[in-house]
Subunit: 631 residues, 2 copies
């Protein structure tokens, strides 16, 4: 194990990054919210996924290629990437103490043993296109060859960082070197159709110091033209991966044209195309973000991979200058849109993440194959991109908790955790967080530099906490006025034994959307801390909660339920449900002639959105109609 080297994005020497990584292996989650998620991922999700990938032929494809058997062109063109993402997940999982890690290690080696012999002598590797050079790169916009290459490189870097072994990394270098002989000025000019290679090439540059990988990433990004984009458009995952790769490129090169372009896209995304859960992708067609304000709830696409992609992007944007707005969006997606993608037990997944559902089967007499069972997570999908993507992210999550900078130490995420790392000047420290976050906003941080040291401790004050307070060693901290949506900077000479206690207030907040979003008018979403809530039919006698009304004059009272959904804070309040769910006598009526809906008073219970659909098929709604909204 080389936990020292397990940065998820290694900006240690990036000239345009203010933040420097604290490696995943330096952060130990201890009994809090995310440890439970990661434990399920390591103990159940990752091992299960290997079996699924095997059953879907992901390893066999490589073995066939190595044995000279005809390529399995019946499979998806991007199947290799599923295995690569799993390998990245498995590599990060080795950092854990879990007894499963020995099993995961053996499976990871089995995968590597299957993959490597399939690589061509020239470095090319793709089981769909095989090793006949004449079959390669015919349709770069569609064929995912560069996408698969990117995931191969990312898996190899993670494997090398965690284990110190070079065999995967050397293969990735050979592949990347080959790519530099195919694409570039005077060579093939087509831009990749599905970005991913750019992220990988920049990280490979960081890993190896070889400038040609960075240049190739820049070449692809120039060919795509992302620096000139004015909007965040099209296929959600591709758009966000591309933006993340371009941010990586900016961190190394610093051209303000890139930063301006990324800023325009980010603004467009968060101001017009972002679900309140942090999901993106309002349109099934093309898996795309659609147009501004196109944010349907029941027909949200909001692919799990797209939520992860925005986390990757926001993380990279944070590295530039430590701006809290990116961390706020990262946290929004982390606790909601991304986490909803996996079941509490870590074994079932959503590809599509709606913000409302009727909880029933959908029939189609004409397309029997389009019949939909009541919406539930699945163990896998024919196009199985999301499950191993969630797994690699959860496995690497400790790497997203904190950073250093030349002047100090940054805490981005709060959870029970112990961080052992060193300041920019080399001073070792331990930072321990004690908290029941996200259910409780009190975080006690024990700062233990090995020796007294002057530095700034940057604590993220989330935008949702309007009245945070802070004490230092039990006393009010002089000059420390937490501002929501900013990092609070505490500069002093820190002594071993110093204690900071941060109290983030967690009011239950009713959120409204801009009136240009057609589906949410007259409705509110409910947030407490970083958690977005929803109503589920199962808590309301099977009622269709899409038509519930929230009584805004009755407080929603938080209450921790230890035995519910793995332990969650629920919100109990009051409102109304439809007394009769049968269809209305007429869908359209003259204004003023529509009879008021017949409602029955009801206690309403809200649960965290991420935990929905863990209790069987049920209706669900994030946005709740308000009584008195004139509706």
């Amino acid at each position: 194990m080389f936990p020292e080297r397990t940065a998820v994005v290694d900006t240690t020497r990036s000239p345009y990054a203010r933040l420097r990584p604290i490696p995943a292996g330096a952060v130990r989650l201890e009994g809090g919210f995310w440890q439970a998620r990661r434990a399920a991922n390591t103990a159940a999700g990752i091992p299960q996924q290997f079996d699924i990938l095997k059953a879907r032929g992901a390893l066999e494809n490589f073995r066939r290629l190595a044995a000279g058997i005809e390529a399995n062109t019946e499979d998806f063109v991007f199947r290799d990437s599923d295995l690569y993402k799993w390998m990245e997940a498995a590599a990060y999982a080795l950092l854990d103490d879990d007894p499963q890690t020995a099993v995961i290690r053996a499976r990871l080696d089995e995968a590597i043993d299957a993959v490597l012999p399939a690589q061509g002598a020239d470095g090319y590797l793709n089981t769909y296109f095989g090793n006949d050079p004449s079959r390669r790169f015919h349709n770069i916009a569609v064929d995912h060859e560069l996408y698969c290459a990117g995931h191969f490189i990312q898996a190899a870097i993670a494997h090398h960082r965690v284990t110190g072994e070079r065999r995967l990394l050397d293969a990735a270098i050979r592949f990347a070197d080959y790519l530099t002989t195919v694409f570039g000025p005077g060579l093939r000019q087509e831009p990749p159709g599905h970005p991913e290679i750019e992220l990988a090439l920049v990280e490979l540059y960081r890993e190896t110091g070889e400038r040609r990988y960075l240049d190739l990433a820049g070449f692809f990004l120039e060919r795509i033209g992302i620096a000139d984009f004015t909007r965040f458009e099209g296929h959600a995952v591709r758009a966000a991966y591309c933006a993340a790769g371009a941010t990586d490129y900016f961190l190394e090169t610093g051209d303000p044209r890139w930063r301006d372009g990324l800023e325009r896209q980010w603004d467009d995304m968060v101001r017009t195309k972002l679900y309140v859960t942090g999901g993106i992708g309002g349109r099934y067609r093309g898996e795309s973000v659609g147009t501004a304000y196109e944010l349907p709830n029941q027909r949200a696409y909001a692919e799990t991979c797209a939520a992860l992609a925005t986390i990757f992007w926001n993380w990279r944007l944070m590295q530039i200058a430590g701006e809290a707005r990116y961390a706020d969006e990262l946290e929004r997606t982390l606790y909601n849109g991304a986490l909803a993608g996996v079941s509490l037990d870590g074994t079932r997944y959503f590809y599509v993440n709606p913000l409302a559902d009727h909880g029933q089967a959908e029939g189609d007499p004409w397309y029997p194959w389009a019949r939909r069972e009541p919406y539930q997570r699945q163990t896998d999908f024919p196009c199985n991109c999301c499950p191993p993507n969630v797994e690699r992210f959860l496995a690497s999550l400790p790497g997203y908790f904190a950073s250093t900078s030349d002047d100090g130490l940054w805490v981005h995420l709060y959870d029970a955790a112990r961080i052992r790392w060193r300041l920019a000047d080399g001073t070792p420290f331990t930072l321990t967080q004690h908290t029941r976050y996200p259910w409780d906003g009190t975080i006690t941080l024990a700062i233990e530099p090995e020796r007294a040291a002057e530095f700034t401790l940057y604590l993220r004050i989330p935008a949702w906490a309007p009245a945070a307070t802070l004490t230092l060693n039990g006393e009010p901290a002089p000059g420390a006025a937490p501002q929501p949506g900013r990092y609070l900077a505490l500069r002093r000479t820190w002594q071993p034994g110093d204690r900071v206690s941060l109290a983030l207030d967690m009011p239950v907040t009713l959120l409204e959307a801009d009136a240009r979003v057609p589906e949410t008018r007259g409705s509110v979403a409910v947030q407490r801390g970083p958690v977005i809530y929803c109503a589920e039919g199962v808590d309301h006698g099977g009622a269709d909660v899409r038509f519930a009304r929230l009584d805004a004059s009755t407080p929603l009272v938080p209450h921790f339920e230890a035995d519910l959904l793995g332990g969650v804070t629920v919100l109990d309040g009051a409102g109304w449900l439809l007394a009769d769910e049968s269809p209305p006598p007429a869908l359209y009526r003259p204004r003023g002639q529509r009879p008021p809906d017949v409602l029955r008073p009801a206690r309403l219970r809200l649960v965290p959105y991420y935990a929905w659909a863990n209790r069987g098929p049920t209706s669900m709604a994030v946005w709740l109609l308000l009584d008195g909204s004139g509706i």
Copy 2:
């Protein structure tokens, strides 16, 4: 010409039909609203469509087959049906006086001359599958073979009814006879994947008296199981065609099980899945109606063919007992959801009919082929089902105006028209309508039976006319109290020269949708007479009218604009537009902290929805936010 025989649905001898057809050829439109539409169809649309079909290879496919050249399996599997629908359109167009009819007749003969030689000796005819019996009917759920057969039969019946010629009809009979040797009890059992054959077989039974065609239709419908459906689900066109075919079957057989099942589906459609324009299909995926209340405006699919399909269905339901609710829905779709499918000049078409649009291009850097130019009608589509479907419907429209029954004469649609037909007892009559409908609700009907005759004149009082009045020969008619949504029955001995004057009030009505429709909360749609209105950006200085607010306290004033959009009544009113269309600072804000939108007062002009997008790319909205709605 045999105008006597040109019933669009020949219920003359249908035992379970109360209404009897008045043939299309017995109704002459005279200078009103629909004559202009039909003239454009005959003079421009139908001739142009023939050229398009030729260019797309629709005739060549038949010639190749007849010449024994390999089938063109690169083309759509349902291409033949496009030509058949055009042939049906061309046949009905021959009823017109238009100078184009000679040209159309020649082209129709050219089409028939191409089609007939391709028919197999056993009667089978499909250019995609050719005449090798081993290639047929492998995947009935997908392959549209029976769908194409249905359109062939319908075209043949129309051709026979209009021209009296038998050569197409005889070929259709041979094909139908062949089908009875392939499908049925003890034979192939699979249900058709795309209904249409059922409608055709019942009509062929009506045309020939051969019971086996009716039985085969019933067999298909039983295999689909439509009598037991509890909801209107899935692919919108298929669902409505199937229901229309089942209604035809009921009209001949009278099994109440069928009527109950159809009633359930119709209720489900109009109470939960119908756009205010009469369009159906809220979901792009599967071109389907989606689930209850899934009625997005901008992302409405609302295929033109689906609107036509509900007209076909409602017309057949009307035949059972003359219930006005079906006529009301037929009219809603006729003037709005269906008519929007064709440009004012009759040459450009919508496949998808949104109820809102931003009027701009949509980009997708990752799927360049998914880039969308500003939304406009097109002359044709690769999948070109809608244009010839509109054309055949418009050509046959006179057949939908009126009916007879054992006890009288029914007027369903109002427009300047002259109907010459005979009562059930054989008494010839002329009924002349003088009206500026739909812009004016006054209709003067001159009833001229050849001799005095006692019968009931049934006049449709639309549901949107709450205070209709009527005079008979200038005097209040005794006992005649018009009720909205009913047929007014005037029974008396009618004399040549009798005049009825019906005044349908046309208030400007603001419609609300049931609150369960997520997208229309706080908004109204505006209707006057049968016409649903919309706002277009082109009338508002290019503003994005999706975000307009209507001032409900200022009346919307109707005003006829002779030079606008072919002559329309516009509605002029007041409201507000966004003063600044740039995205909001934040998409989500705590309730009460969202700054009110900055609005600027504006005059608002509404135009008929059917006429939108006839003045270049522009934003459009049917549903308008109300001021004071709390949004």
